[in-house]
């Protein structure tokens, strides 16, 4: 989908302003950022600096108040909610800190959900894709379990399977290890490393400098703006 001369993500003077009766909060205040296809970017910064808001805007879960955002060349601020949902479904996979699995569904059903929304796939094709994704995160044995029957690490692996089942161009991870113990966290990070190694574009929000250091590029935010943006040695 992406052409080689064009960044996968292009942000120009992007702003996200929350307005209440009393005050105006600039959660994002003029962000300029390009992320290329296949890059592994860690977004760091103190609490409230706007990194999760940035991830929400990148994932089309929230809308920018001003500025330009192009995803794979598509000006997402100009398309309607339905088209944004289609883009989100095909091009973006989410990994959340709190896993966000639907508790009433089994792991298999949770992983299958993005494919159902995509439409056009037969039940067999969906099943094959789900099996592949679960095998990729080593969760095949737990396919028929419900989230409440799994450990935190297992739930996050199921969430990663759901994120990558549709083979999206971009994976967005918001503190993916925040709710996990260190061993499980390490296992998840290894999985993300593997996904990157396989060619996935990854944008990860994290507090942990150790995990951030595993990314190719570290973007540090402060007060809604990008403070530093630097590549680390691969």
């Amino acid at each position: 989908m992406n052409d080689t001369n064009r960044p996968l993500i292009r942000l120009r003077d992007l702003k996200r302003i929350y307005t209440t009766e009393q005050l105006e909060t600039h959660a994002l205040d003029g962000i300029d950022l390009d992320i290329d296809d296949g890059e592994y970017v860690a977004v760091e910064g103190p609490s409230g600096c706007g990194k999760s808001t940035l991830l929400s805007v990148l994932g089309l879960l929230d809308e920018a108040s001003e500025g330009e955002y192009r995803l794979a060349g598509v000006p997402v601020t100009e398309i309607d909610a339905e088209e944004q949902a289609r883009l989100r479904n095909r091009e973006i996979g989410f990994i959340f800190q709190s896993f966000n699995l639907i508790p009433e569904m089994t792991v298999r059903e949770n992983v299958e959900l993005p494919l159902i929304y995509r439409g056009g796939l037969s039940a067999t094709e969906r099943r094959r894709a789900v099996d592949e994704a679960l095998a990729r995160v080593e969760m095949s044995a737990r396919a028929d379990h419900r989230p409440a029957q799994l450990s935190g690490g297992q739930q996050q692996r199921a969430a990663i399977a759901r994120a990558l089942v549709g083979k999206p161009a971009l994976l967005l991870a918001d503190e993916p290890t925040g709710n996990l113990d260190s061993a499980s966290g390490e296992r998840i990070m290894q999985l993300l490393d593997e996904l990157h190694a396989d060619g996935s574009t990854l944008v990860m929000v994290t507090h942990d400098p150790g995990y951030a250091a595993r990314a190719q590029r570290r973007v540090r935010m402060k007060d809604g703006s990008i403070d530093t943006d630097g590549r680390v040695a691969a």
């Binding site: 929400s56 879960l61 989410f94 993005p114 929304y117």
Partner: protein, 809 residues
């Protein structure tokens, strides 16, 4: 204990005041529902066993009357009443009051008296035991063969006519040429059975011999002119009395049968009423409406439960906190019960107050005409029922939050509520839609019935025709002589000429009664052994054309008062089996072979003077003056000003028939619509109830969907993050609505089908109303309602900002 209760009450008040609009809406719903229930319960309770005021005990009293809704149906003659009374095994006693109660022109002690008097049979005062102001009631000895001339005065008459003289007992007063002795005065609250206020009560044999002398003595025991009252044996069903009456009628001799109803034609109902058939019919209809209001109240209670549950997510922390500081589940349940109780109690009080106004309105409903309402606006049984219902509803509505909240473990205090409908939501959906289906089906059935009735061809044209009816300037006395024929014809010519001079008047004629008029005359004909009862319509030339009635054979009257009759198709077919019967005669004056009064001049198509669902009856149109032609309505086709019409007719009446003046000028369509006035009233009342329950069901369903959408915001956000667009979210919420309401939809549709079939079977609606179509239409309506009620929650769900929600923990 008391301080705890006060604390809970204060907390409940604060809670409701926090969301004033929602609380007010829940309160209004409860109040409306309880008002409908209380009003209808009051009505039902009054109808259950009506006992006129001023009677010591109404226990086991019954009224016996004709089963048919026919003003010409009689009961039994005095002779047969006495026979039934002496042979009865089911009745302790039997008595009767004559329906010939209007006093002839008479005077008492020289002062004219009009109004009603009550000629009664023996046992009347012993059976009814009315409270007495002075003296005694009538006794057996007052009914001796020669009949004692004694009377018991009505309280008002005693006050108005005798200045409330307390020494009146034993006083003899002159009634016409006879002397009557006053033996008692009834208490003020007793005015007799029915709507009339009797001047006095007298032994029937003396009354008909000396005051109302129009009934020949030899027919006194034979004319079925009685309203019969009895007291049945204790603990015996009224049906046992009916069965005995049927056996009695079946065992009558051939001669007796000719003056008595057939077995099955008389009915017995509990209580004392003037018109048992109308009363029984009203009771059945009020029972249906009463059930409908209870169902509405149930839906309202479920809605209040939903309203309380909607607070659950917001209150879980508060209740968890109360548990951490030591509140037991029982204590929390008590608190929730009080919260629900406050709402239901306030709603019930408001409802009962509202029902004062509502119950009075209910009594005026046209289809309850003839029913006997006794007692005050809200009687004790009705109040008791409403209180019991309120208590049940309190428990019902409190149960949901109690089960949902109080049983959650402390550790679950901050956990999300399930976004999936639980047993409560499924039950609520079933109850709301099922009951809405039931009530709206009844409303739809009555409305469709009315629509079908309105479509039926009455056989005449009503559009653009005004009818000016006349009435007496002063009530005629017993010596009233109708005006001379010539005066009537002269009046007609004069008024016709003046009205036709108005540019907006196209045609003028005269005739009455019209379909929908209350007063009607029926005459019996014997044609070659065929007994035919026909309605007599007195008309002037031009009536047939002006009213758009089809003339099938022969001709209209050529001149005013022309001898001869014009009959209807039904009349002709019943008498001769064909319609072309011009020249035949409906009756002969044997002494005058040249008499043309019974000669048929023409045959018209049927005009329905009955209810549109009944076949049209035979009609005989007469142009002669003998049938009160001077009082015919003036019929005007055109578009004139009704006030001008009234002015012209009054001026002409003053010249020619000064005993009359215009009563009213109304469109004929309005008069004819009286035929379906009861259907219209039924349709309006059930329509109103249907509207209320539909609104409540829609609101309840909306609130439920809204709750589920709110509880499922996180799940919706996840779905959106995975690529669900607004349309997918809309579909998801609408589908959730369909699953939630689906069973209610099916049950509602089925109940609709059953209720319509039942209403049809019971004769409330015409056979033209299809249960399957109505059931289908109701189910489709409920589906639309469900989708409509789910629309806003669906739109709101699709407008979530998933970014914020998914960050929450």
């Amino acid at each position: 204990m008391i301080s705890g209760l006060l604390l809970d009450l204060r907390h409940a008040a604060r809670l409701y005041l926090k969301t004033p609009w929602q609380s007010a809406l829940a309160l209004i719903m409860m109040a409306v529902a309880m008002a409908l229930v209380s009003g209808m319960a009051s009505l039902w309770s009054e109808l259950y066993q009506p006992t006129p005021a001023g009677i010591e005990s109404g226990d086991d009293l019954i009224t016996i009357g004709p089963r048919a809704d026919d003003p010409f149906s009689g009961t039994l003659g005095a002779g047969l009443i006495k026979d039934l009374s002496s042979s009865s095994q089911t009745l302790v006693d039997l008595t009767a009051e004559s329906s010939f109660s209007r006093l002839p022109e008479t005077d008492i002690d020289g002062q004219p008296v009009d109004g009603q008097a009550a000629p009664v049979m023996p046992g009347y005062f012993e059976l009814l035991e009315p409270r007495m102001r002075l003296g005694r009631g009538l006794r057996a000895e007052d009914f001796a063969d020669d009949g004692a001339r004694v009377m018991v005065l009505g309280h008002r008459f005693w006050q108005d006519h005798f200045d409330g003289d307390t020494d009146i007992l034993g006083r003899e007063v002159s009634v016409g040429e006879d002397r009557w002795r006053i033996v008692g005065v009834v208490a003020p609250e007793f005015t007799g059975v029915g709507s009339g206020t009797f001047r006095f009560w007298a032994p029937y044999n003396s009354y008909f011999r000396h005051i109302q002398t129009g009934v020949p003595a030899e027919l006194l025991d034979r004319i079925p002119m009685w309203q019969i009252f009895g007291r049945k044996l204790e603990s015996l069903a009224t049906s046992a009395v009916e069965a005995e009456i049927d056996r009695f009628l079946g065992g009558l001799s051939q001669t007796e049968r000719s003056i008595a109803p057939e077995p099955g034609e008389l009915m017995a109902i509990p209580g004392l009423v003037e018109n048992p058939q109308a009363h029984q019919s009203a009771k059945r209809q009020v029972t249906i409406l009463f059930i409908a209001t209870v169902l509405i109240a149930l839906v309202a209670a479920v809605n209040v439960g939903i309203f309380l549950l909607a607070r659950a997510p917001a209150r879980q922390r508060e209740l968890a906190l109360r548990q951490t500081v030591g509140a037991t589940r029982r204590r929390l349940s008590g608190q929730l019960l009080i919260e629900a109780g406050v709402l239901v109690l306030l709603g019930s009080i408001l409802g009962v107050l509202l029902s004062i106004w509502l119950a009075a309105g209910f009594r005026e409903l046209r289809f309850l005409e003839g029913a006997a309402f006794t007692g005050s606006w809200l009687n004790l049984p009705a109040l008791g029922f409403s209180a019991a219902l309120a208590a049940v509803f309190t428990l019902l509505v409190a149960l949901v939050p109690i089960v949902t909240l109080a049983r959650r473990r402390l550790s679950e205090g901050s956990r999300q509520f399930s976004a999936r409908p639980g047993p409560f939501q499924h039950t609520a959906g079933l109850v709301q839609l099922g009951l809405a289906g039931l009530v709206t089906a009844a409303a739809a059935a009555f409305m469709t019935h009315l629509w079908i009735m309105d479509q039926r061809d009455p056989g005449l044209s009503t559009e653009g025709i005004l009818a000016a009816s006349v009435t007496f300037r002063e009530r005629p006395t017993g010596q009233f002589q109708p005006p001379a024929e010539e005066a009537t014809w002269a009046y007609r010519e004069a008024v016709r000429e003046r009205l036709l001079a108005l540019p907006s008047v196209e045609a003028v004629s005269f005739g009455s009664p019209l379909p929908g008029n209350r007063m009607t005359a029926i005459s019996g004909y014997n044609i070659d052994g065929n007994e035919i009862r026909a309605r007599i319509i007195n008309v002037a030339p031009g009536f047939i054309e002006l009213m758009g009635i089809d003339l099938l054979h022969g001709r209209d009257f050529k001149s005013a008062g022309e001898p001869g009759v014009i009959i209807s198709r039904r009349f002709a077919e019943k008498a001769w089996g064909e319609t072309d019967v011009v020249g035949q005669t409906v009756w002969h004056d044997q002494s005058n072979p040249d008499d043309e009064r019974g000669r048929i001049l023409g045959v018209i198509d049927d005009v329905n003077y009955e209810h549109p669902d009944e076949p049209p009856g035979p009609l005989a149109l007469s142009g002669r003056s003998g049938f009160g032609a001077f009082m015919n309505a003036t019929l005007i086709r055109g578009n004139p000003d009704p006030d001008r019409i009234e002015e012209i007719i009054n001026e002409t009446l003053e010249t020619h028939l000064d005993l009359l003046h215009v009563d009213e000028v109304r469109p004929v369509a309005e008069i004819v619509a009286q035929l379906t006035a009861k259907d219209r009233a039924r349709s309006r009342v059930t329509g109103l109830l249907g509207l209320v329950i539909v609104f409540m069901a829609a609101f309840g369903f909306f609130a439920m969907q809204r709750f589920l959408v709110d509880a499922g915001r996180r799940e919706t956000a996840i779905r959106m993050a995975l690529g669900a667009g607004p349309r997918s979210i809309h579909r998801h919420v609408l589908w959730q609505g369909l699953r939630l309401g689906g069973p209610g939809l099916i049950v509602g549709g089925l109940l609709a089908l059953i209720v319509v079939a039942w209403l049809r079977n019971e004769g409330f609606i015409t056979d033209g109303v299809s249960p399957a179509l109505t059931g289908g239409a109701v189910a489709a309506g409920l589906l639309a309602l469900m989708l409509l009620a789910s629309l806003q929650p669906a739109i709101s769900a699709a407008r979530l900002r998933p970014g914020d929600l998914l960050k929450e923990e």
